[in-house]
């Protein structure tokens, strides 16, 4: 029994490939259990998982570059021109 369980255990090299599916919540239940069992006993992989989480959050905090007033003016003028020309048929609807 013990031997059987050990053979099913994940190694770190496999765990890092499953981290994203774990975060996306798409691992099948058995796979998720194996993943969490490994994590419970492996501080390095737990650190790795946390680092991926932090990476995602950090990317989300990058802000787009600032926008100049001249560009706003340009777009106001474009808007007036486009409106004046009226709608185009058969474009994307959503």
């Amino acid at each position: 029994m013990n031997l059987l369980r050990r053979r099913q255990d994940l190694v770190c090299r496999q765990v890092v490939e499953l981290v994203n599916d774990y975060l996306e919540n798409v691992l099948p239940r058995a796979e998720r259990k194996r993943f969490e069992r490994h994590l419970a006993g492996c501080p390095h992989c737990a650190t790795y998982l946390e680092q991926i989480r932090v990476t995602v959050a950090t990317v989300g905090r990058l802000t787009p570059d600032d926008f100049s007033p001249e560009v706003s003016q340009e777009f106001t003028e474009l808007y007036r021109a486009w409106r004046a020309e009226g709608p185009t048929p058969g474009d994307e609807s959503g």
Binding site: V11, R13, N20, H44, Q51, I52, F75
Partner: protein
């Protein structure tokens, strides 16, 4: 701050200020995503301008089945794809590319050296000056679809299914691309922050 939905109502009524607010809100994001499809900043700007024209002319037909943001990016991607898709976009996804360099593991598949913790240093304001530019340029060097998925998911915060619909890719591909992209960005942050920690 007005919501996208409120601005859309105003836009339908011909409110040009609402349009400028929307442009301000999304111009940077659109340019960044457009740039992944086309060979130059100039072409990206044309594609984005074309996208806004599509918004102004199509706003009456927008049915609100998707979020404004998803609709906007879908227009962008459609325009971008007709004006010069990069060749590398057709490369198949390499299923063997590892998330972490194989030499970080020993023969049994366990970490050869402990993973150096840095995740709590990321919020350090001073450190941010060093890693933020590295992270931006790392995003810029991700291959086409990987970069698009990372930008739309992690920077723009679109849900997975919307990213699939915007880019016209399967859920499985979306996940693999996101996995690859996030793994690479973690490695870049690790390089930046481990170096700081040991100096």
């Amino acid at each position: 701050m007005e919501s996208d939905a409120e601005l859309l109502v105003a836009l339908r009524n011909g409110d040009e200020q609402a349009f400028v607010v929307l442009v301000n809100r999304y111009q940077g994001s659109l340019l960044r995503v457009a740039r992944t499809f086309v060979p130059s900043d100039a072409v990206a700007e044309e594609v984005v301008q074309d996208t806004w024209m599509g918004v102004v002319r199509g706003v009456d037909r927008f049915e609100g089945r998707s979020s404004f943001k998803t609709w906007l990016f879908r227009i962008l991607v459609n325009r971008a794809r007709t004006s010069g898709v990069r060749e590398h976009r057709h490369l198949p996804i390499d299923p063997t590319e590892p998330a972490v360099s194989p030499d970080r593991f020993d023969r049994s598949g366990a970490w050869a050296e402990p993973v150096i913790p840095w995740e709590s240093d990321v919020d350090d304001r001073l450190l941010a000056e060093s890693w933020a530019p590295a992270l931006r340029s790392a995003i810029d060097t991700l291959p086409g679809l990987q970069r698009e998925v990372v930008l739309l998911r992690d920077l723009e915060g679109l849900p997975a299914e919307n990213v699939c619909s915007v880019l016209d890719i399967s859920e499985g591909n979306q996940r693999v691309l996101l996995h690859r992209g996030r793994s690479k960005l973690r490695a870049v942050l690790a390089d930046e922050l481990e170096a700081r920690g040991s100096s």
